[in-house]
């Protein structure tokens, strides 16, 4: 192989490795993500720690963090027979507070205010209290919600991108109900 073809091969290898954007994790958007909720998320979140299930289990054991699950609730699909059995159930990291929809990129001001008030109450106003946010794998909702908490000045925000699936792979998940105050949010 002559030097020219070596350079060509080297360059094309480099191109292949740096590849199209879809091949790797998404870059962090400057603001909240308002695109499709399902999709490849970034590998990081500025101001927050990214943790896996094992690290989360250790954190739960050592620091008793506030666990916030922002996975979407399942709405009965249009087109199902009225008498069809529809019994959604939600399993999550035990002890989590479930606030579906709290990871929307564009919360309405009343929803934003309610989320702020809920997290403030659940942390008893302590900005240093560790807070873990998650939903599902490849779901932007938890990234958004964690970012919102970073912006609100929480000092120990943990983003758990593997979510419920990552947890279930290693540990038991428990049935949880939606946070009652969040359930009554203005839609």
């Amino acid at each position: 192989m002559n030097r020219f073809s070596q350079i060509v091969v080297g360059l094309s290898l480099l191109l292949a490795l740096s590849g199209p954007a879809s091949a790797g994790p998404a870059a962090e958007p400057a603001g909240f993500w308002t695109g499709p909720m399902r999709g490849q998320t970034p590998a990081s979140l500025a101001g927050a720690n990214v943790i896996d299930a094992k690290a989360l289990a250790a954190l739960i054991a050592s620091d008793r963090p506030l666990l916030i699950d922002v996975a979407a609730e399942e709405a009965k699909p249009a087109g199902m027979a009225p008498d069809a059995l529809w019994l959604p159930i939600h399993r999550s990291v035990p002890g989590s507070v479930w606030m579906p929809g709290a990871g929307d990129g564009a919360l309405t001001p009343p929803q934003d205010a309610l989320l702020t008030a809920q997290v403030d109450a659940l942390t008893a106003g302590a900005k240093a209290k560790p807070v873990v946010v998650f939903c599902h794998r490849d779901c932007w909702a938890s990234w958004n919600a964690a970012k919102r908490l970073v912006r609100q000045g929480y000092l120990r925000v943990y983003w758990f991108p593997d979510g419920v699936e990552g947890w279930q792979d290693a540990y038991e998940a428990g049935v949880i109900k939606q946070d009652p105050e969040w359930a009554a949010r203005p839609r």
């Binding site: 289990a57 054991a61 399942e74 009965k76 699909p77 529809w86 019994l87 540990y171």
Partner: protein, 269 residues
């Protein structure tokens, strides 16, 4: 030199003991049992559902490769006693996956099909005997995301050829022995929970709700299904050859109706 290691071992043991859920699997078992109780009551009311007692067995993968197509094999060894079989994916929002009612031309010894699984769940199969008793078996399956998994192609693409059917049969059929047929129905079986990534709306539910298979005027089975059946349903079933074509009809949730007759190739006798 040994001390730090000993400390490390103790710490490791301690952290294992402290991990939530580990060892103490009890809370989860309790919740899963409670869920099954809830479903049982919703479907069977006050009727007792007994243990399998050799009337039903189920095979599933422990961990599914594709949660949108989890293969299930139901075996009913005492086939002469079997009237119907139900399949439930406990933790799916629509847990009632399938109900096969067998007719006189059936050999209800085995059914195979594929279902969607939304999250790690128990799957229950319940056989109903001709004398009205219910017996169940269950398996725990690790699979998730099967309900919201997008079709992979546009809804229009996925809907192409809707209602087309094929039936795979042995090359030669002897009327004296049961035969296995593999029925495939082309249908996206949209469950209403799949997001169209282009429009960001949910693709409206449209799914097979009934399949009837018969031969020579004798029913083989009627399947009542819901949104948990995988797209392009594939159903394996056994039947007693009637020396007549196999008639298949399907009905979906938007009143789509399809029917086809499959001629069998008899080998005589």
């Amino acid at each position: 030199m040994l001390k730090p290691r000993a400390v490390a071992i103790v710490l490791a043991l301690l952290s294992t003991a402290l991990l939530p859920g580990q060892g103490a699997a009890a809370p989860d078992q309790t919740q899963r049992a409670a869920r099954w109780n809830e479903l049982q009551t919703a479907i069977f009311g006050a009727r007792t559902v007994q243990a399998a007692d050799g009337l039903i067995a189920m095979e599933t993968p422990d961990r599914a490769l594709d949660a949108a197509y989890v293969p299930i094999t139901l075996t009913m060894p005492q086939k002469d006693k079997v009237a119907a079989v139900y399949l439930f994916v406990d933790d799916n929002p629509s847990p009632y996956a399938a109900h096969f009612t067998f007719g006189p031309a059936a050999d209800p010894s085995q059914i195979r099909l594929k279902v969607r699984v939304d999250s790690y769940t128990d799957i229950h199969a319940v056989v109903e005997t001709k004398d009205g008793a219910l017996h169940q078996t269950s398996r725990y399956v690790k699979a998730s995301g099967g309900c919201s998994a997008p079709a992979g192609v546009t809804p229009e693409e996925a809907s192409k050829g809707m209602g087309e059917m094929s039936l795979k049969l042995p090359a030669a059929i002897r009327t004296s022995a049961p035969v296995e047929g593999v029925l495939t129905i082309r249908h996206p079986n949209f469950n209403g929970m799949q997001m169209d990534q282009a429009t960001r709306g949910y693709t409206p539910a449209r799914f097979i709700r009934e399949v009837k298979v018969s031969s020579g005027g004798q029913s083989i089975f009627t399947l009542n299904a819901d949104i948990s059946l995988s797209s392009d349903p594939v159903i394996s079933f056994r039947f007693m050859p009637q020396n007549a074509p196999i008639e298949v009809s399907a009905l979906d949730s938007q009143d789509g109706r399809w029917a086809r007759s499959f001629v069998t190739a008899p080998a005589g006798r």
